[in-house]
């Protein structure tokens, strides 16, 4: 186990050496940590920045701990090992009429990773985060003990572990409440809208009529067009029906040269995409996969950004001041001309999460991709950071690679409480960045 393996996260900016322990079965104790300074769990590595990395540490790869433990098809209570992937869950449960209560934009994440980032989905405005549906988790810590945690048992460790970035111990299994559905189809509507004000109007109107809402934004548009995009909303279809189609799968076999995604190509893509839909509004009855996980049909799409990788910048800002902060951010992004063709805008609701470090809070969230162009990209982030700070917003650790320690303390005021529950033998690059005092040895 002394062999080191280079591991990268989804953004591919960092490639970091690790010792790796592949966990095939839920262990009774953590594997021996000979030279490595600390542990960190690792799921599918779908986090963009450095929260799933721990330089020279021992990564606890939990992906092969992927078994169902129990599934009650009457109550919809599902218990699984933490390494199971969301697609593996859905493939079995949807035909029995049960859907995950919250899904992110890709189904290729593990249940443990999803809990550790307390993920949100297109239904945040009504449902809250995944953590709201976790009934129980079992956490193995370096003291060799397994802790059963729930909203009523070991409540502190529960609150620290939901959104706890893998730092409080290894989640062995989790029990969640699934949601009944009639079919595997979604009734989807897409509305082309041309300004930020229009976005907020449609969003407000849709919140009571649609369980799922999100908008794709043309982040290069400016002036009158600032914030223009497609608003996508949907509900689980009431008509029963199942699809078996796997859909077309393409793959990006090698990384593209960095120059391919430049301002001109992205601008072109965005314009075509924006005008693709001729009608202002369009309705469709579609399978849940293209609705929730459109990018999953392109394997390894992160290689599109070339060898230097890319960043994602995801922010939430409260609804106030006539949405000025989000407008300012979009203006800065458009002005910077830093190509970003995946930009997503969505409103969060006010359902509280049990997780202490949970990211979502009432307001509007914007997620933007930026190819890594070195210092100039980081300079743009500094400008954006200042806007977020002023607006009393926050950045999302699952996507983050640049947040400063000062900002972290402001965005996550419960960090001090959280810190007391970190397993003394766990650490991560993210944690050492936002808590520079944190030692590698815990």
């Amino acid at each position: 186990m002394d062999q080191k393996t280079e591991i990268e996260s989804w953004g591919r900016v960092l490639k970091v050496p690790h010792e790796v322990a592949e966990l095939h079965w839920m262990p009774q104790r953590l594997p021996p940590r000979e030279h490595a300074h600390s542990y960190l769990p690792f799921g599918e590595g779908r986090s963009y920045g450095d929260s799933c990395l721990n330089d020279s540490g021992l990564l606890l790869k939990s992906r092969k701990m992927n078994r169902f433990i129990a599934f009650d098809t009457v109550t919809g209570i599902l218990r699984c090992e933490a390494g199971i992937r969301l697609d593996e869950i859905l493939n079995i449960t949807i035909s029995q009429g049960w859907f995950l209560p919250v899904v992110p934009g890709t189904q290729y994440v593990t249940l443990g990773g999803a809990i550790a980032n307390d993920i949100h989905g297109k239904n945040h405005h009504v449902a809250g985060t995944l953590g709201c549906f976790v009934k129980q988790i079992c956490v193995l810590r370096s003291d060799g003990l397994q802790y059963l945690c729930s909203p009523t048992e070991n409540r502190d460790l529960f609150g620290a572990t939901i959104g706890g970035l893998g730092l409080t111990g290894l989640i062995l299994w989790a029990e969640i409440q699934m949601k009944p559905v009639q079919s595997s189809f979604i009734d989807q509507e897409t509305i082309r809208y041309s300004s930020l004000d229009e976005f907020f109007k449609i969003s407000k109107a849709s919140e009571s009529t649609h369980e799922y809402t999100v908008a794709w934004v043309d982040a290069l548009a400016s002036g009158h067009h600032l914030g223009r995009g497609h608003f996508i909303r949907g509900n689980h279809s009431q008509k029963s029906g199942q699809t078996k189609t796997k859909g077309l799968k393409v793959s990006v076999p090698v990384e593209l040269p960095t120059w391919v995604l430049n301002q001109a190509t992205v601008h072109c893509f965005n314009s075509i995409y924006f005008h693709r839909q001729v009608k202002k509004q369009q309705a469709k009855h579609i399978d849940y996969r293209p609705f929730f996980f459109p990018l999953d049909s392109i394997k390894n799409w992160n290689r599109l950004y070339g060898s230097r990788g890319f960043y994602q910048y995801q922010v939430v800002v409260p609804f106030e001041n006539d949405q000025e902060p989000i407008r300012e951010i979009l203006k800065e992004v458009a002005k910077s001309k830093k190509a970003s063709f995946l930009a997503v805008l969505k409103t969060f609701g006010n359902v509280p999460s049990p997780g202490w470090l949970s990211f979502p809070r009432p307001g509007v969230t914007l997620a933007l991709d930026f190819p890594n162009q070195g210092a100039s990209t980081l300079r743009l982030f500094k400008t954006l950071d200042a806007i977020v700070r002023r607006a009393r917003g926050a950045l999302y650790p699952a996507k983050d690679a640049t947040m400063t320690a000062e900002d972290f303390e402001i965005y996550y005021p419960r960090w001090r409480e959280f810190q007391a529950w970190i397993d003394p033998q766990f650490s991560s690059n993210f944690w050492r960045r936002v808590r520079p005092g944190a030692e590698k040895h815990g």
Partner: protein
């Protein structure tokens, strides 16, 4: 809907085959050594909707218990259509060179105990004139190499035994499949650094189920290993013995 038995149901490859068989609606009987792992796999399969008719935790090296085991399978399933042998240990070659008891232990696991299971299976299926027997051997059994010849010899012996058995059972309409995987990313190889030659157990399992359906004789999984082993087998011994393999 076949009645299928898996010996080594908790091996990474065995688990994936079990999932596929469960998906086809097979009635399953699971045999494995570790009761806890067996329980985990059984629960997983049940949650997926599998019909697990029975299971038994047993150290399969103990051939004296095989008859009782087969009786138990008979009463749970009422017959066997498909059987897969999917257990084994990757021997510590250096230790085996120093200690014959260890070598014998490995040969008992990877070859002798399989012969006992196969004898039972063959007699039963020959009489019924029906059935498919599939056994995981290895590319390592195709040629002896200094780094791995105790394991290789056991698997090689297994492959030759299966050739003979296939020849015998052909008349009875019973098919015998020899499966030769290359490197697979499983607990057995967790100490090895992974490279592009490693296949996932899911891929290997698909190959196995397809091979059983099509009543194949010998399969290499993934298929490119046929070419690799073709080349390795054709190196003249005078040269081969000088290589550091």
């Amino acid at each position: 809907m076949a009645k299928s038995v898996l010996f080594g149901a908790t091996s990474a490859i065995g688990i994936e085959v079990a999932k596929l068989m469960a998906g086809q609606g097979d009635e399953l009987f699971l045999v494995a050594r570790d009761p806890q792992k067996l329980q985990a796999v059984e629960r997983d399969l049940r949650a997926r909707g599998a019909q697990v008719k029975g299971s038994r935790a047993i150290d399969l090296r103990q051939t004296e218990h095989h008859l009782t085991l087969f009786r138990e399978i008979q009463s749970a399933l009422g017959g066997i259509d498909h059987a897969l042998i999917a257990y084994g240990t990757l021997s510590n070659q250096k230790a085996c060179e120093q200690d014959f008891t260890l070598a014998a232990h490995e040969i008992q696991t990877n070859f002798v105990s399989c012969v006992s299971l196969l004898t039972n299976l063959a007699n039963q299926m020959e009489q019924k004139r029906h059935g498919v027997i599939a056994v995981i051997s290895s590319v390592a059994g195709d040629r002896g190499r200094q780094s791995n010849y105790i394991y290789g010899a056991s698997k090689g012996a297994l492959s030759i035994f299966l050739q003979g058995l296939r020849n015998r059972l052909f008349q009875a309409g019973v098919s015998v499949l020899t499966i030769k995987p290359g490197f697979v990313d499983t607990p057995m190889t967790s100490h090895l650094k992974k490279n592009f030659l490693f296949a996932q157990p899911e891929t290997v399992a698909l190959g196995i189920v397809r091979g059983m359906e099509r009543k194949k004789d010998v399969i290499y999984v993934p298929g490119f290993w046929w070419w690799v082993m073709f080349i390795i087998r054709s190196v003249p011994e005078a040269l081969f013995k000088r290589l550091k393999l």
